[in-house]
Subunit: 145 residues, 2 copies
Amino acid sequence: MTSSAAERDLRRAAVRVTKQRVAVLDAVRRHPHADADTIIADVRGELGSVSTQAVYDVLHALDEVGLIRRVEPAGSPARYDPRVGDNHHHLVCRRCGRMVDVDCATGAAPCMEPVAAQGFSVNEAEVIFWGYCPDCQSLGPTHAG
Amino acid sequence: MTSSAAERDLRRAAVRVTKQRVAVLDAVRRHPHADADTIIADVRGELGSVSTQAVYDVLHALDEVGLIRRVEPAGSPARYDPRVGDNHHHLVCRRCGRMVDVDCATGAAPCMEPVAAQGFSVNEAEVIFWGYCPDCQSLGPTHAG
DNA sequence: GCATAAAATGGAATTGTTCCAGTTAACGAG
DNA sequence: CTCGTTAACTGGAACAATTCCATTTTATGC
């Protein structure tokens, strides 16, 4: 088996390369914004078996070295985003939970403005837009309307 | 005991007024951005005893009628904010979890811009600024640096 | 190949929150 | 102001997502 993209990226990030790690990174890339359960299921499909713990460990490790990004919308388990290195934001459907990327529409990181508000030193602005995805608009809100 | 502010607000919101509800609303107002545990402890201090469930129920009810607002920063239990009706955002300390309100610094709801992005209909923009509070800046990051 | 430290395993434990069935209490009608 | 209806509260069990722990396995440097 030749060196996959995931494998190279892991090696470059100076972390040990294991089949579990390669599989998890590939899974996140195949399913952008998926939750841990989805990743675990996908990885099990690839490798036959992996411990739940291993997947959580890998997701943390990948997040730490910046190969993936953890996003945690209110009321949802954590999601994992393979797109990193830019400061894009997210749009989440209130009904089905679907999540898509959005570039900061008003320019470069407009929301970083209040850098020194109340004596805080701010280094990240996390923006989540809530609404309804195309499929769910017709159906109307199920709850939390 | 005369009708308290909390009591009046509840009545106006057309929900039943119970001592638990009054106590919870007062507790949230006394401790802005507190989590459920803190509210439960405070309410128990006031009333002697309340079921955990009752407090959760009330918090949900108050959120639903718009008397409080639920905020859920990543990695933290839900917090409850008594300030409602405006679209202010939050600043959260990575070290101690302290949360403060911030008005949207770049004008009126600048982050609502991508209203129709990708076919979604957006009706809320949630912004969380991450950084270090004045007290924690000197101490440096404990983790997640 | 061998040593060693990092990663994976499996199982139990936590945390925050919700579900459920039964009891209590608020409040509108009489 | 008593009664009935229905919402709210109680207590206890259940749950989902995640983490902790001790042990075993495995990737990588020498």
